[in-house]
């Protein structure tokens, strides 16, 4: 049973992981994007529609990434260049994404898709326990697991990563070296939307094999919270996403084994646990927060 719960955590957490990694990049540049949920929705629909029309799930992922990025760039244009409030703009852009994806998604609701199928990693998937948990999933899930260290490396070991972090903490350094902090922020938010779009694509074309309106069901907001939970660290986001996926998986697995669970209270657990972790590690997290983010929460418009 533990095996099944952990496998479910990996499979169900990977979409949230993509979104949380994207939001990490965005917030490292000093921009909090509450429309991550919207980017996931756009990614889910674009991937599904493209996969249906072309028959290629991989083309779908590209379309999903592009759609998620397009929405994030709209958000960034208003926030970075018009200096509009980030939290409010995020919610407004989410409304737009909800409306537009509902309208455009209608034709795809009843259509089947040739989505991603499970691809067992040769050799590794035969390892007892570990094989089932880690190496018997859809390709996008592997991609998510690889993306976490990759984003960590990009953020902390490369020049672009340094520029993103500078945009969030020491924008004057960027200016001094002849770069535009706003352009770096735009790029970081766009990259964040791209990753969230892939997360949406994982749900629609790999996990649920379905498109229905508002199908992300709050997972984008969870991703935003996980970023803080993870102290803006991609590897922490990996842990957080697996934790959230694990709670959902555990709850369903217990039921499937005939154990009664208070489902409503268990469903509240990830949110409570996130708050609890934030409280426990608040001092460390405070230091980890990009300076640029603190200004986000000032009420000045």
């Amino acid at each position: 049973m533990i095996e099944a719960v952990l496998a479910g955590a990996v499979r169900g957490g990977s979409s949230i992981l993509f979104a949380a990694l994207g939001e990490t990049v965005s917030e490292r540049a000093g921009v909090i994007n509450l429309s991550t949920e919207g980017s996931m929705l756009c990614g889910a629909l674009a991937a599904y529609a493209t996969a249906v029309e072309t028959g290629s799930a991989w083309l779908g992922v590209l379309a999903g990434a592009a759609a998620g990025m397009a929405l994030a760039m709209l958000f960034a244009a208003v926030v970075v260049f018009r200096a509009a409030n980030q939290l409010a703009t995020g919610i407004v852009v989410l409304f737009l994404a909800l409306g537009v994806t509902s309208l455009l998604g209608r034709d795809y609701v009843g259509q089947g898709v040739d989505g991603f199928t499970r691809w067992d990693v040769p050799g590794l998937s035969d390892i007892p326990f570990v094989g089932t948990v880690l190496f018997a999933h859809d390709p996008l899930t592997y991609l998510a697991l690889l993306a976490a260290p990759l984003v960590w490396w990009l953020m902390f070991r490369t020049t672009p990563g340094l520029m993103v972090r500078a945009a969030g903490e020491r924008p004057e350094v960027l200016v001094a070296t002849g770069h535009s902090p706003n352009l770096v922020r735009l790029a970081a938010v766009a990259a964040g939307g791209l990753l969230a779009g892939i997360g949406g694509a994982q749900i629609s074309t790999a996990l649920a094999l379905n498109w229905s309106e508002n199908m992300i069901q709050g997972r984008g907001f969870v991703a935003v919270a996980l970023v803080i939970f993870a102290a803006w660290n991609p590897m922490g986001a990996l842990a957080g996403a697996l934790f959230f996926g694990g709670i959902e998986s555990l709850q369903l697995q217990l039921q499937a084994e005939g154990v009664s669970v208070p489902a409503d209270l268990l469903n509240a657990l990830p949110y409570l646990a996130t708050i609890a972790v934030l409280v426990l590690f608040s001092r460390r997290r405070l230091h980890a927060a990009p300076d640029g983010l603190t200004s986000v929460f000032e009420t000045s418009p």
């Binding site: 409010a88 706003n182 907001f221 608040s282």
Partner: protein, 356 residues
């Protein structure tokens, strides 16, 4: 930051360039929506006509707009008051829900024969206490462990929704509801009276919850401009460090502002329970918390303008029905309309650059 948000809002609202920009933004939003409708295969004229007719011309239209506006206004105040002190309350949705839970708890504890003059204030108190307690959690976390209140209040909203789900699916489930998750209906004495005698109500279901919302706005206007408390909150919001050095009890002010905001969102929950739904059920939140957040931000947390903006959002909500019924557009159109209007208003700003 040189001037408080309120001062800037006042400047923005003065007739002149600010007003022109507002009107231009709203016009641009509507024009964008009309174009969207045309390309989606509908009739822009019919769509705009549907909004106008359902919100203004229809006998019950204006009353329905006000019914929708009351909880939005209260939830906007719940954002505005903490915002004076520089705090983001993103949890209005959850505080509304816990307010409705609190009012239901009170209602169930009271004898149903109790007159409404005694019952309603108690229900109102139950709602306010529920919302205040729920909002006190992020406030206390903010002043003790410096946990950001925007995130914690948003997360607690999801917890509140699950709590209500649990109650209406379990202990509170009305046995006569064929298993549909809702609590037993409130007795008549626990319901807010109608305002159907008002001409604007058109004989519809406008209720005294509107008066509660307007009274709250009046109190907030006074508190904002004419009390020491409001002044101190604005000082904390302007520069917390300076306020602390100046000897202000910053932590107490922060908790007070959040608790006051949460109480108002909780009152919105009581108003929806006793004035509109008449029983606790999962759908009671109705996104009013999020809409209230947008309203408060739209008017830069100035309570004087919250009524107007709240009515505008109420009108979009009511007009959204007519987009479907009269103009035969899909339900999602209303989200596009709302988003385009607000984006146009967002993009109208002064183009002030971030300190970079």
């Amino acid at each position: 930051m040189t001037a408080g948000p309120a001062a800037r809002a006042a400047a923005r609202m003065r007739p002149g360039t600010g007003l022109v920009r507002w009107l231009a933004a709203i016009g641009a939003g509507l024009a964008g929506f009309a174009l969207f409708v045309a390309i989606a295969g509908g009739s822009p004229a019919a769509a705009l006509q549907a909004i106008w007719s359902s919100t203004v011309v229809d006998a019950v239209g204006p009353g329905e707009v006000l019914v929708a506006a009351a909880p939005v206004i209260l939830c906007a105040l719940a954002v505005a008051i903490p915002a004076w002190a520089g705090l983001w309350n993103l949890g209005g949705e959850g505080q509304l829900v816990v307010g409705a839970i609190g009012a239901t708890v009170v209602s169930q504890a009271l004898p149903s024969s109790l007159g409404s003059w005694a019952a309603l204030p108690l229900l109102l108190a139950g709602g306010a206490i529920g919302g205040a307690l729920w909002c006190a959690i992020p406030a206390v976390l903010r002043v003790t462990v410096n946990l950001n209140e925007a995130i914690s209040s948003l997360l607690l909203s999801y917890v509140a929704l699950r709590l209500l789900d649990y109650l209406v699916n379990g202990p509170w489930k009305d046995p006569r509801s064929l298993g549909f998750p809702q609590a037993e209906p409130l007795p008549d004495g626990h319901r807010l009276g109608g305002l159907d005698w008002l001409p604007v109500a058109g004989g519809g279901r406008l209720h005294t919850g509107l008066l509660i919302a307007l009274a709250a706005v009046a109190a907030a206007v006074v508190a904002h401009r004419h009390t020491t408390w409001g002044f101190r909150l604005r000082v904390v919001g302007g520069n917390g460090e300076a306020a602390r050095r100046g000897g202000l009890p910053v932590k107490r002010l922060i908790v007070g502002a959040m608790v006051a905001g949460g109480a108002l969102a909780g009152v919105a929950g009581m108003v929806q329970l006793s004035g509109v739904e008449f029983q606790a059920k999962g759908g009671i939140a109705g996104a009013y918390g999020f809409l209230g957040f947008l309203v408060s931000w739209l008017v830069r947390h100035d309570p004087r303008w919250i009524v107007l903006a709240g009515i505008a959002i109420g009108a979009v909500r009511v007009g959204g029905d007519a987009l479907q019924i009269d103009a035969n557009l899909p339900a999602a159109s209303v989200n596009v309309l709302l988003a385009l209007l607000l984006l146009a208003i967002l993009a109208r700003g002064r183009g002030r650059r971030r300190s970079a």
